[in-house]
Structure formats: C-alpha cells, structure tokens
C-alpha cells in the first residue's frame, strides 16, 4: 500500500512537472556574459539572389491570441516577401525549444525568432554562441550584437481597453483575469486599472490570476466568480486560459475583452473588443528588415506611437461588437468611447500624460490622473 502510494505520488509529480514545463518559464540563469559594446554593427546590404531563411521557435500554437499572432507574422512574410523562406517549430518544452534554436542556427538559418519573456536568458546565450545568425525575441530585450528584442508597451494598450471598460460598465465594477502573476502581466493589469480610473475613478476593479496559460476551465471559474461579485466586463490577459473568460461571458450574457489578437469572433456580441498587441506586425517587420539588409541589433519598441498596441477600434480591426452587441452599448462605443480613447491616445502621444509601467522600463513623469478624462 505504502509502496503503491509512493508510486502514485511519484507519477503525479512527474506529470505535474510535465504540465508545468509547458508553461513559459525562466530557465536557470546562466552566468552573465560580459556585456558587448552596444554600438550597432554595420548592416549588411541585401545580397541579390539570396534566400533568407527564418525560423520561429515557439510553444504550442492554437491559443488564438499571443502565440498565434507571432505565427501569423511568419505567414505574412512567407506570402509577401519573395526572398524569404520560413519554418515554424512548435514545442511545449522549453528545453526542446533551445535544442531546436541551436539546430536551426547550425543549419545556417539567418534569423531565429523566439517568443516569451521566459526565453530571454537562453536566447541571448545561444545568440552569443552563433554570432553569424541573427536572433529576435518577442516580449523581452536582447543585449547581444546579433540580437533584436521586440518589446511592447502593453500598459499603454491595456490603458485604452481599461477606459472602454470603465465607460461601458453598468454595475460600476469591472474585472481583470491574468494568466500568471509575473511582472509582464502586472504591466497589463496596472495599465488597465489606470485606464479604468482615468475614465471614471468610481469604477472598482477586481483582479484574479489563473496561475497557468493553458487552463481555460479555471479561467472560466475565475470569471464566473468575478461576474458574481458584480463585475460585468472582464479583461482577459491569459493566453488559452483567457478563452474560459470569453466562454463565461457568453454563458452569462455578460461581457469580456480579449487580448493580443482579434478575439471578438470567439463569442460575438459578448467580447466587446480586444487589446491588440501586434506581435504579427513586429515579427513581419523584423523579417522584412532582414530581407532588406537593415535588421539592426538592439530593441524595437512597439506602442501607441507606432500603432502597435491598444483598443482594436483604434485600428478599425474587429468591429463586430457594433453589430452583435446590445444596441445601447454599441452606440455608446461609437459615440463616446472611441472618441474619448482617441483623445487620450493623442494626449499620450503628445507627451501630456503617460501610463505608469509596472516594470519601470519606460519612465513616466506625469501619469494619467484618476478622473483625468473628465477634465
């Protein structure tokens, strides 16, 4: 009996380990390499007749959100750029992803794109080992002479959907469901809260963390609980777990907001909008620069200023809610929310106000004030 129990527990531990390993997470930090001088090396002019080979190393696709957006960028490059050849390697296991990235570098690929803040350490480690291959990393900075970090101002984007939530709520309470309680997701959460308070300081925000990217059933329960506590709009920033939030809004006839990709079609009339984070554009841009011989080292920042984050209506993507949602909310969206968000975006772009960044990478001296919209 005892032996059997121990065996059961061992197997349980093994499988839970397996499950845990599929979530993006940091690998043990290697000894830091001496920082290379960050002056940009001369960019190579495009070689005529050369086919640039690009590989995307990524966790399992199919989240209809963040990961799929990166894959979409690769698809665009394959379609639109004649001298580019692409390959996508999916693996849930971070160790396998590292092996794949090494194998691609060995195979002479020109650009290897990795995804996720958890991949930062190993990507820069591999990049140092293969100086002739260029590396790009979505969601974190890369400080190697052959690396480009593609980073986003998610706090700005989340601010815009927070405004929309605060203006559309009828209960005076809105929700946030995050995938994992990590700094990058805190950035989503705090940006959202600032947006809510900017539009209406009396609206209350309830938050919750799923603790996993791939557990939609739990995301759903979390959302149902928030609805029960009186929230009527929930912003889901939780990868596949977020699908549970969207499902909950459809079940209860309440409202939710998607993230990263256009997610309105998942529950038409219940998903108000999506916080676009155009990973696809950043990936495509990087590949395009590569094919033109202008891909530089350093970091590319995507924010409101280059139309890469924010409420989907800012970019006229995904406006289905106006047709499928309740008429009063759709009208309010068109007549009040969109103009107000656009005005706020103008103020942010003009430097009149800013959104505080949880990770404090982007300085913010004159943060948006609660109730600031009413001024």
């Amino acid at each position: 009996m005892l032996r059997r129990t121990i065996l059961v527990m061992l197997v349980a531990a093994m499988v839970i380990g397996l499950v845990a390993s599929c979530a993006p997470k940091a690998t043990p930090t290697p000894t830091p390499k001496p920082a290379e001088p960050t002056k940009a090396p001369p960019t190579k002019p495009p070689e005529p007749g050369k086919t640039y080979k690009v590989a995307l190393v990524i966790s399992l696709l199919g989240d209809r959100s963040f990961l799929d957006s990166a894959a979409r960028g690769i698809g665009w490059a394959q379609e639109r750029l004649a001298n580019v050849e692409t390959k996508i390697i999916e693996n849930a296991d971070v160790g396998e992803q590292q092996l794949a990235a090494r194998a691609m570098a060995e195979a002479g690929y020109d650009l290897i794109i990795t995804v996720g803040f958890g991949s930062a350490d190993w990507t820069s480690e591999i990049a140092t080992e293969y100086p002739d291959t260029h590396f790009a990393l979505v969601d974190a900075t890369l400080d190697v002479p052959n690396g480009t970090g593609l980073i986003f101002k998610e706090h700005d984007g989340s601010f815009t959907v927070g405004m929309a939530a605060a203006m559309l709520t009828k209960t005076g309470k809105v929700g946030f469901v995050g995938g994992m309680d990590v700094p990058l997701l805190r950035r989503f959460q705090e940006g959202y809260i600032q947006g809510v308070k900017y539009a209406d300081p009396n609206v209350e925000v309830v938050s919750g963390w799923v603790g996993a990217w791939g557990d939609p059933t739990k995301g759903k329960e979390l959302a149902l609980t928030q609805y029960e506590e009186g929230a009527d709009i929930i912003y889901a920033a939780a990868g596949k777990s977020g699908e549970g939030v969207l499902a909950a809004s459809a079940e209860k006839g309440l409202f939710s907001m998607g993230v990263d990709s256009d997610q309105c079609y998942i529950a038409p009339g219940n998903v108000i909008c999506s916080m676009m984070k155009m990973v696809d554009v950043s990936v495509f841009d990087a590949i395009k620069s590569l094919s033109e011989g202008t891909l530089e080292a350093g970091n590319r920042v995507y924010g409101l200023e280059n139309d890469a984050v924010g409420l989907c209506y800012l970019y006229d993507i995904d406006t289905e809610f106006l047709d499928n949602g309740p008429a009063d909310m759709a009208a309010k969206m068109t007549n009040e929310v969109i103009p107000a968000v656009k005005a706020a975006v103008q103020r942010i772009k003009a430097g009149e106000m800013c959104v505080k960044d949880h990770m404090e990478i982007y300085p913010c001296d004159n943060p948006a004030q609660p109730g600031g919209m009413g001024m």
Partner: protein
C-alpha cells in the same frame, strides 16, 4: 486473552490519537485568536451574500451580515472548548469534531477576509460544486476499479482522451450529446485496454496506468497540434451544455442555486454518485465486486468469475471517467487544450483514498478540494494580502494535509493492485 490484550492496545493507540487531536484543536483555536482576532476594528461588519449574483430562479432572501469581532471570538471560543473537551475526555468521534473545528476555522477565516466587504457565499459554494465535479468523477472511477481490486492511476489520461473525443465529435456532429456519448465510449475503450493489461496479462497495474497517462497526454497533444489547431472552428469549437434549472427545486433559497442550476454533467455526477453507491452496496453484483476486491480466491471458489467482474468494473469506471473528461470541454469551455485536465485525475485519486473507497466519501472529499479551489479565487477578489502563488497552492496543500493523516488510516480493499492467477 490474546484478543483482549490486542484490544486494549488498540484502545491505547486510539486514545493517544484522540489526545493529540485535542492538542491540534487547541492549537487551531489559539491560531484563530492570534491570527484573525488581532487588530480588528470594533464595529466592522462582514456581509455574506446568500443570493446568486446572476439571474436565478431562487427566491431572494436577505444577506447575512455579521459583526466581525464578536463572530471571530465566538468561533475561536467554540474551537478552544472542543479542544479542551477532546483533550480531557478523549472522545472517539474525533473526526466528527474535527469537521466542526475545521468549519469554525474556515468560517472565522472567511469572516476575517470579508471584513468591511461583502462576499457572495452562495456563489462560492456553487462554484465549489462545479470545481468538484471532475474530481468527484475521477474519484468514482477510482472507487469502481479499486473495489474490484484493480488499481487505476491512469484516470488523468482517460479523462484527457475523453475530453478531446467529446469536443471533436460534438463539433463535427453539432450535437453535444453525441460528444458526451463519444467521451463515455472513449473512456470505456481506454479502460478496457487497462483491464486487458492488468487483469488478463497481469502487468503491474501501476505501470499499466502510467502507460495510459503517457499515451493520453502524448496522443491528445499530437492530435491537437496536428489537426485541431489547423481547423479550430471545424473540429474544436463545440459550445457547451446550457445551464438547466430544475423546476421548483431551483426556487429553494441557498440550496437551489447551488445544486439545481447547473449543467447536465453536474447532475450526471450527482446521479452517478448515488447509482454507484447503490450498485456497490445494495446489489448482488456489488457484493460480488467487493468480494473480488477483498479476496478473489474465496470469490472464485464460490463460483464468481473474477476476471469478468474486474473487466466490467474497470470498464464502468472508465465510462465514469469519460463523463469527467467531457466536463472539461463540452461541459465547461467548449474547446480542447493540451493538458487541460491539470492534475484533476490525481486529485481524484487522493479524494478516493480520503473518502475511504466509498462513493459518498469520495464526493465529500472532492467537495473539499473544490471548496479550496473556489476559496482561493474568492480570496484573490477580496484582495487578502496573501501572495497569489500561495493561494493557488491551496488545493494541493489540502491534498497533502488531508492525506498525511488527518483522516487517520484508510484501508484499501485487501486485494487492491494484485493480479489474480486462476489455479
């Protein structure tokens, strides 16, 4: 003579345990006072919502508003009195008292967490039942198998495969009931495979179960990555069972919204608990099953077909796990994701052991895990200053505490896990 010595030893051991329980109760009481009773503002109130937060059939009743400080002090006093009583008298019914103590502590904690705020109690209990559903179904599968003497640790794998089968069939046929049938069928087939290995081929049952877990995770991930992801709308987008309000019963305040406004899988789970109990303890077949699980040789000499009983029990168990798998996809979010069962099959096994291999015991312990799960969600909303990582651990911590002996010794069926060799 010998038996009376043994009896007095047993009594000595059990009074020793009873005394220790008394000390534990006292410690809990002191902890309640010190951790929760300190620094409370006088006159603060906690409101417990007794009506569901959604449109509901239930008749509305007033919410429960409690003054925080007196409530916590009263509950702590009850715990301390029970602890002192247990220590002095060494009552044998320590487990029942433990239940009361745990209830008082949890209620004191909730009052503390909700001080100055409101808290929807009905919603949390309803969510506990929903969260407990897959765990209870997994535990029932375990009960069915192990009562006949076959260990089945592959429940996690069975549930994963059933979950996937359910959503694919439901999406393709556009009929959720077909999906449910497919899940049950998948559960039956996979567990039949386990039965062949465990009963006929006499493979070590733990290894066979492990193989099923590995096959389950591997096959579902492969199918998801290779096919489902390429065609989400055509294969992996089924919708979910609607909430069914049972007429009349759903109007009962408190109980109505918790038990009688759910999806079909929750009702199925409740029905299966009762059915399994009747099957195991009130039918001839059940008596035979238990005989086979306790002493297959004796059963065999009385003319019971041990192999047949084990095959049927394992396959029935697999069908129950299939229903559990269906909960994840067509019962909850309407799509399949890799590893989406997230260890519920294993927690189900823990619930089975905690529930001492009986259907109602398994259900009760599943409710405990479901409660821990929904409690942590609530606490996040109440913004209790406990790091969210610790809150997320709650169900697993409870699993460990519960298994590490609060329950006392749980005795499995005697022939559990032993292949039977016919002579």
């Amino acid at each position: 003579m010998a038996t009376s010595v043994a009896r007095s030893q047993i009594r000595a051991i059990s009074t020793g345990r009873a005394r220790r329980m008394g000390l534990v109760f006292l410690a809990i009481g002191v902890a309640t006072l010190l951790l929760l009773g300190r620094g409370l503002e006088a006159g603060q109130k906690a409101t417990f919502g007794l009506n569901p937060g959604f449109k509901s059939q239930a008749i509305k009743i007033p919410d429960l508003t409690l003054p925080v400080q007196p409530t916590i002090y009263t509950l702590a006093a009850i715990i301390l009195i029970l602890g002192a009583w247990q220590l002095i008298r060494g009552s044998r019914s320590a487990n029942a008292l433990l239940g009361v103590v745990a209830f008082c502590f949890v209620f004191a904690f909730l009052t503390w967490a909700a001080r100055g705020k409101s808290f929807n109690l009905v919603g949390m209990l309803g969510s506990s039942l929903v969260r407990a559903t897959p765990i209870a179904l997994a535990a029932l599968c375990g009960v069915m198998c192990e009562r006949s003497g076959v260990v089945n640790i592959g429940i996690e794998g069975i549930m994963l495969m059933s979950a996937q089968a359910a959503v694919v069939v439901a999406t393709v046929t556009k009929n959720l009931y077909m999906g449910l049938a497919a899940a049950i069928l998948t559960g039956a087939i996979i567990s039949a495979l386990h039965a062949v290995m465990a009963v006929s081929l006499k493979v070590d049952q733990v290894i066979s179960g492990t193989a099923i877990i590995i096959i389950g995770t591997g096959a579902t991930s492969f199918i998801a990555a290779r096919f489902l992801e390429k065609n989400i709308n055509g294969l992996n987008n089924s919708g979910t069972f609607p909430v069914i309000s049972i007429p009349v019963l759903s109007k009962i305040p408190l109980l109505g919204p918790i038990f009688f406004e759910n999806g079909i899988i929750v009702y199925l789970m409740l029905a299966l608990i009762a059915l399994t109990h009747i099957l195991l303890f009130s039918t001839k077949w059940g008596l035979r099953t238990r005989a086979v699980g306790e002493h297959p040789r004796a059963a065999d000499t009385l003319g019971i077909n041990v192999y047949l009983v084990r095959y049927v029990s394992v396959i029935l168990g697999g069908m129950i796990a299939g229903v559990g798998g269906a909960y994840f996809t067509i019962g909850s979010v309407g799509r399949f994701d890799e590893f989406m069962t997230a260890g519920k099959g294993f927690i189900g096994l823990a619930a089975m052991i905690f529930g001492k291999w009986s259907p109602f015991g398994a259900f009760g312990s599943s409710l405990l895990f479901g409660f821990a799960d929904s409690l942590q969600i609530k606490l996040q909303i109440l913004r209790v200053h406990i790091p969210s990582e610790f809150l997320l651990m709650a169900p697993y911590l409870i699993t460990m505490v519960v298994l590490a002996g609060v329950v006392g010794r749980a005795i499995p069926p005697a022939a559990d896990g032993q292949p039977y060799e016919k002579q």
